[in-house]
């Protein structure tokens, strides 16, 4: 891999930028791989990277039906945090945050991870109880989270409105200082480049069309739009399309895919120092390095693969943003887009083996998958390589739905995320 450095940049400045090589190859798929990842988003590429780097696995391919990072990796609002309620969840997400903290160096690719802190606003007594429960639970687990009064929240985020004239005044906020944002595309590209350097074949424009199983029922091959590829291990990391891919292996999933919209404003000079989330009035906001306000909220109501939502969902989100930041009312929406998020019944992911030998699945991240990217890749690679889960993802099985061991953050917090 051609190392990136200030020196390399200077050298290329003199040579007219002609010295840069491809960041990843564009190989034709081979006839056989030791492992195939279906889905070239951040999670899939991270999985391939960790399989190659941590488990010494060779001859791995990532199959992407379109262009890498083009799904939810490139469509989310990049919020990274780990202040989840249940131990299983906060361990999972904090595992990821720890990897984020050195990801640029790990990948030799600046993913612009910026720990700006996230404020989660409480607007009523119930919110206060819920967030304090989070704060106490997180602190016990070594996950940073603190309770701020409304005035303290405003000191941390000066543009925030906290006066009593609001329909739902801000009573306080939970602050996780280690939370942050990152440059989403760079995560996909950085993992692709690093995985490619370890020999992983990243095959774009290659859609899986069926999963072939042998007489014992184990995985044997994948049929794709670019031909049949033999393999004994398949990791499905296809986000919104997981149900479709798993259906190819005859499995019905506890998943539904919903449109999730996000939007950005026109870029302005720095005006918002942190991330602000309000689950009660349904909106979250941060400002990107480029200066755009990055805004999102909950999903549309119905399942869809159209990557398009309804206007009333965006207007509802902006109502909330304008209530929290009335000085942003004259800002303008520049771009709005939709992703397809796969949601499980308990809003927690599945990172697990399946009943089909050789078939593994990593899905169900709902609206919160980006933050987990490095951890998800690391844990899923472990699960695929060792054919058993890492202790951190052991609770995130498919069987939990049968046995009732749900990890229901949404129900527990009575919040959506």
């Amino acid at each position: 891999m051609q190392r990136f450095s200030a020196l390399a940049l200077a050298r290329n400045a003199l040579s007219g930028q002609t010295g840069w090589q491809r960041q990843w190859r564009s190989p034709d798929p081979a006839k056989r791989y030791n492992a195939i990842i279906i889905g070239g988003g951040g999670h899939g590429l991270a999985t391939a990277f960790h399989l190659a780097r941590d488990h010494g696995m060779r001859n791995i391919a990532v199959l992407e039906k379109s262009w890498i990072g083009g799904g939810n990796t490139g469509r989310n609002t990049t919020i990274i945090r780990s202040n989840y309620l249940f131990n299983a969840s906060s361990s999972l997400y904090d595992h990821a945050v720890k990897l984020w903290e050195n990801l640029s160096q790990t990948l030799n690719y600046n993913v612009m991870f910026s720990q700006r802190g996230v404020l989660m606003l409480a607007h009523n007594v119930h919110d206060e109880q819920v967030f304090k429960r989070h704060v106490h639970a997180n602190r016990l687990n070594g996950v940073d989270n603190e309770w701020l009064t409304a005035a303290q929240a405003k000191a941390f985020c000066p543009p925030l409105r906290i006066d009593a004239g609001m329909r739902y005044p801000v009573l306080g906020a939970a602050l996780q200082r280690r939370a942050g944002v990152a440059r989403h595309d760079a995560v996909a590209w950085g993992y692709a480049r690093a995985a490619d350097a370890l020999g992983v074949d990243i095959v774009e424009n290659c859609a899986a069309t069926s999963i072939v199983r042998d007489r014992q029922g184990a995985v044997e091959a994948v049929e794709t739009t670019r031909g049949r590829i033999a393999t004994a291990k398949i990791g499905v990391v296809a986000a919104g399309n997981t149900s479709v891919i798993m259906g190819m292996a005859g499995l019905r999933m506890p998943l539904e895919s919903f449109p999730l919209q996000a939007l950005v404003s026109e870029p302005v000079k720095p005006v918002l120092p942190c991330i602000v989330m309000s689950n009660t009035i349904h909106a979250y906001i941060s400002q990107s390095d480029k200066g755009e306000l990055v805004i999102g909220a909950g999903t549309d109501a119905y399942i869809s693969y159209s990557q398009r939502g309804a206007l009333h969902v965006s207007t509802h989100t902006l109502e909330a943003i304008c209530e929290l930041f009335p000085q942003f009312r004259r800002m303008r929406m520049l771009r709005n887009w939709g992703g397809i998020v796969d949601v499980t019944p308990d809003r927690s992911p599945i990172i697990a083996k399946t009943s089909v030998p050789g078939l593994y699945v990593n899905c169900g991240w709902g609206t919160g998958g980006f933050k987990a990217t490095p951890g998800s890749g690391h844990l899923f690679a472990w699960t695929m390589a060792k054919d058993e889960p890492h202790p951190i993802n052991a609770p995130f099985t498919l069987e939990r739905f049968r046995d009732g061991f749900l990890i229901d953050e949404a129900a527990a917090a009575a919040v959506s995320h």
Binding site: W67, G70, H126, N141, S306
Partner: protein, 988 residues
């Protein structure tokens, strides 16, 4: 004074009136009809902005919403300041104040321009390759600098002073764009009897008719045709006309969103007017006549102030009466440029040179230019431009030979052909096809509910566009009446344009493709070289097309470059996705009136006004405002709550329980239905009796609870939690309608029908008994969990003997309109008994003393009946109810599940924090549960808490720890019942 570049006559400005405005502090003048760009150009001011990355000086490029360069901040007060507006869209008015952006200290001298000098260090994606050392460097060192350099304008710092409005409308035919095709379409559709809505983003209708010379190719007078057509439309009852209204989004099923700019162009708007208005239109048919946008040419130095699109110069001339320069060089690859050249020539401007990159320029327009003696050079491109803050000259070069010629000029016009504006068509999920002869993507066809007409589908000649629009309008109107005459069809096809897409000027040097984001040819080549071959990757890596103009002038050129670099067809490379909105839309417009108290409806009970008068402090519970406590003079919340609790325990308290959800369940099968919905038995519940009802989700977790009274064999009064009513009703309806349609049961939401006055305490009966007619309230006649109907103060009454306090209590349901009267009467009667109003906080304390749970506080969506100590509620012998099967799953029988217990702190004073975690002394880091409720109990004279603790029921008396920030508290596990465990007061 009139600007020196203003023509003597012509244009659509009102020369009789002068408008004074300020730009960067300097006073300028213009006329009504001017926009900021035209007015400044009339004074010879081209330099209006600085680019995003390199801070290069930039002038006006276009004449409309496609403008990438001339972005300004408008407004003299922060409460009415708007950044990033296009000067080409800002209509001037008296007192307008505008300033340039992204420059320091001034527009003409910007220290940020150092970036341009260093630009060899900053190619596309440079930031991915560096700023990684040391690891903390990004957040602390580099990012803050980059952030300050980035961004364009400054966001307003004060709350917006304006208001915004929203409207929903239906129409038969929505026509988007009021150029020749759109006007013709609207007229034809209206003549076909359709209800028509015509919108255009500009201040007046006409589109290209306003920008082009008087007569069309066919000899039609453009402005006369426009006037006649508008007169017809204005006289039609079935036509709505909206200027300054941009259709910015097309959604499923012809749902189109428009934003109308109502007051920004006015110096003194009526205060009642909204600044902007959002129109959400459901149209049976849509005709898109959105026109086309001219493409810049890609050559070295193509971004200097004074470099402009040819059609824009023509617009400034014809529409605004402004000469954009004196001595002009034209760079082109399309015939249309010759028409512009002739126009400007006739207006007295000097055409210094026309450089056509094509080997031949043979169309009629080129011939006319030749005949007029204009200096036309084919096979010629621009090799360089000269000047700093304004172009001074250009170097022309013969393709392939290297022969060069320097030509002085103060304006360089570019025309690389036109790109049809297919944004909305693409948003509507229409399929695009690449047309080689136009070098553009064109709509593939109509979708059955949406058609395209005129330049938007590659028909540029005015006369043909008018005919095309008329056909589209006729077809659209006919389609809205499917039973009508034979359906007309479109007959006009897209002609060859004769324009060639200049894939790239034969030039190696840095040429700008995306002006605002400073994306150059070199950046695009670098991206492809580094393997970013998908057009979406190129866009994201270089940021081409991601500026505030969303690539209106740059996308096709970028695409052509990528295609060239990859040696592929344009069609194979494909387009990036067109995303809503077409042009940026104000947040406030989308948020509309939803601010402050209109952000969400406020639900108030009939007792609200009384509570307000009494000085109650309210809390938000869902949309409800509930009185939390009633402080007497200078009382703290704790003091007030203590007093209210004492009153209930010793005398009586009055509580407004009107927010409780209420559902009337009637029908012969009502009891069977409730048995299936709730865990409890209901068939054996006697008329006149009530029962605590517990509802689970099908997953076995507690969803809601309430009291259910049987008023008649076939009639139940069901109450739910305050927040749970809609959810419970929806779930009941779901099961009733889809699982058990055979049951004869009807459900009615009665939450708003009844006011509920709850009176609790040992003197409760004494206070209300005199009022209640027809019901014997004596303990034996009306015991705990009795329900009856009667009258109180002459109004219908449903009374429950229930208690959420542990005292003898009654819930008095009266029709909501009488709630306030009944409350008043009882309060008055109760004075002598010490009757005290109490709020939700005291209610919480009182019920916690009794260990009564609140769904959503003790339970959290993961609790079973057993976890909450409510296993007793499950009806014995019931074979099924919603959620029953799930209770048999492994996890539900896990002995380590959290169970409801009481906790007592060792010191008796500390009130634990709700949400505090509980650990054992043996393992201080592993949570075994959490505090769900904690209060100081005046009744007990000590603090108390409820908690969900792993295996809690088996831990009675065990000492546990509650680690807090400051210190760790020792607690003892106790039964979740602190007061009157035998219930003597309840039943008394």
């Amino acid at each position: 004074m009139t600007g020196p570049f203003r023509t003597e006559i012509g244009g659509r400005i009102d020369r009789t009136r002068r408008i004074d405005f300020r730009f960067d502090g300097r006073l300028y003048s213009g006329h009504p009809g001017d926009n900021l760009a035209s007015a400044l150009l009339s004074h010879g001011v081209h330099l209006l902005g600085r680019s995003f990355k390199y801070h290069r000086p930039r002038g006006v490029l276009g004449a409309g919403s496609e403008e990438p360069n001339a972005l300004v901040r408008v407004g003299s007060y922060e409460s009415r300041a708007t950044p990033n507006l296009r000067a080409t869209q800002v209509e001037i008015h008296d007192l307008l104040v505008a300033e340039s952006q992204n420059r320091y200290p001034s527009l003409s001298f910007d220290v940020g321009a150092i970036n341009d000098v260093l630009s060899p260090l900053f190619p596309a994606g440079f930031y991915y390759k560096t700023f990684m050392w040391p690891a903390w460097g990004w957040r602390r060192l580099y990012e803050p600098i980059i952030r300050r350099m980035a961004g364009l304008g400054r966001a307003p710092t004060a709350p917006d002073a304006d208001i915004y409005a929203q409207r929903y409308v239906h129409c038969d035919v929505l026509v988007v764009g009021a150029g020749p095709a759109g006007l013709a379409a609207a007229r034809a559709a209206a003549q076909g009897g359709a209800r028509v809505l015509l919108c255009d983003e500009q201040s007046e209708f006409g589109g290209s008719l306003l920008s082009e010379p008087d007569t069309t190719e066919a000899g039609r007078n453009r402005l006369a045709w426009r006037a006649a057509t508008l007169a017809t439309l204005a006289a039609s009852d079935n036509v709505t006309l909206l200027t300054r209204s941009t259709a910015f989004g097309v959604f499923a099923d012809n749902f189109v969103a428009l934003v109308e700019r109502v007051t920004d162009h006015l110096a003194n708007p009526e205060p009642a007017l909204p600044r902007e208005r959002l129109w959400q239109v459901r149209a049976r048919q849509v005709v898109l006549a959105t026109g086309a946008i001219e493409r810049p040419m890609v050559f070295a130095g193509n971004d200097r102030p004074g470099v402009m699109l040819a059609g824009a110069a023509r617009t400034y001339l014809h529409r605004y009466g402004v000469r954009t320069g004196r001595r002009i060089v034209l760079a082109t690859s399309a015939d249309s440029a010759y028409g512009v050249a002739m126009d400007l020539h006739r207006a007295g401007l000097t055409i210094a040179a026309i450089a056509d990159v094509r080997n031949e320029a043979s169309g009629p327009l080129a011939a006319a230019a030749r005949a007029a003696g204009l200096p036309l050079r084919t096979s010629t491109h621009i090799a360089a431009t000269h000047g700093r803050l304004r172009i001074r000259g250009a170097t022309l070069a013969r393709n392939g030979t290297g022969a060069r010629e320097k030509v002085a000029c103060d304006l360089l016009l570019m025309s690389g052909g036109y790109t049809p504006t297919v944004h909305l068509y693409s948003q509507a999920r229409g399929t695009l096809r690449f047309d080689e002869s136009l070098g553009a993507f064109l709509p593939g066809g109509d979708t059955g509910i949406l058609q395209v007409a005129g330049a938007c589908r590659g028909i540029f000649a005015t006369d043909v566009a008018i005919a095309d629009g008329a056909e589209a309008g006729t077809v659209a109107a006919a389609r809205t009446d499917p039973g009508g005459a034979p359906q007309p069809v479109r007959t006009i096809s897209v002609p060859d344009s004769g324009a060639l897409l200049a894939r790239e000027a034969p030039c190696d040097r840095r040429a700008f493709v995306d002006f605002q984001n400073d994306v150059t040819t070199k950046d695009l080549r670098l991206a492809v070289r580094e393997g970013f071959v998908s057009v979406e990757h190129v866009k994201r890596y270089t940021t081409a097309g991601m500026a505030t103009d969303q690539g209106k002038t740059s996308n096709i050129n970028a695409l052509a470059l990528v295609a060239n670099e990859r040696r592929m067809d344009m069609a194979a490379v494909g387009l990036t996705t067109f995303r809503m909105p077409y042009t940026p839309v104000t947040f406030g417009t989308l948020a509309g009136a939803a601010r402050g108290n209109l952000f969400d409806p406020i639900r108030q009970t009939p007792i609200h006004a009384w509570a307000e008068d009494r000085g109650a402090v309210f809390e938000d519970v869902g949309m409800w405002k509930r009185a939390r406590y009633f402080p007497a003079a200078r009382e703290t919340m704790a003091q007030a709550v203590a007093r209210e609790c004492r009153a209930v325990r010793t005398g009586a308290g009055l509580f407004d329980a009107s927010t409780l959800g209420k559902i009337e369940v009637v029908g012969p099968d009502a009891a069977i239905f409730l048995e299936r919905m709730y865990v409890n038995n209901f068939r054996k519940l006697a008329v006149g009796r009530a029962r605590y009802g517990l509802m689970l989700g099908e997953d076995g977790f507690v969803l809601d609870d309430g009291v259910i009274g049987r008023l008649a064999p076939d009639r139940f009064h069901v109450t739910t939690t305050t927040g749970g009513a809609p959810r419970v009703l929806a779930m009941m309806e779901d099961y009733l309608q889809t699982e058990w349609p055979d049951l004869r049961v009807w459900l009615t939401s009665t939450t708003e029908e009844w006011a509920v006055v709850s009176i609790q305490g040992p003197r409760a009966r004494d206070i209300i008994a005199p009022f209640v007619i027809g019901i014997d309230l004596a303990p034996q006649a009306f015991p705990h969990m009795a329900v009856a109907e009667g009258t109180i103060l002459g109004v219908n009454l449903r009374i429950f003997r229930v208690s959420f306090t542990g005292e003898c209590g009654f819930e008095i349901n009266v029709p909501a309109d009488y709630g306030s009267d009944v409350w008043h009467a009882i309060m008055q009667q109760g004075t002598v008994f010490g009757l005290t109003p109490y709020g939700t906080e005291a209610m919480h304390v009182l019920r916690a003393e009794k260990g009564y749970i609140i769904v959503g506080q003790e339970s959290d969506g993961t609790a079973t009946p057993d976890d909450l100590g409510l296993g007793w509620a499950i009806g014995r012998g019931k074979s099924d109810f919603v959620g029953k099967r799930s209770l048999a799953r492994a996890a539900m029988r896990d002995p380590s599940r959290k169970q409801l217990v009481g906790l007592l702190t060792s010191n008796g004073e500390t009130v634990l924090q709700e949400g505090a975690q509980i650990v054992t002394a043996a393992n201080g880091n592993a949570s075994i549960g959490h505090v769900t409720s904690a209060y100081f109990s005046t009744t007990l004279g000590r603090s108390m808490a409820l908690a969900m603790i792993s295996g809690g029921k088996a831990r009675m008396g065990e000492k546990l720890l509650a680690p807090m920030l400051d210190r760790t508290h020792e607690v003892t596990v106790a039964p979740a019942m602190f007061y009157d465990p035998k219930g003597e007061r309840l039943y008394g």
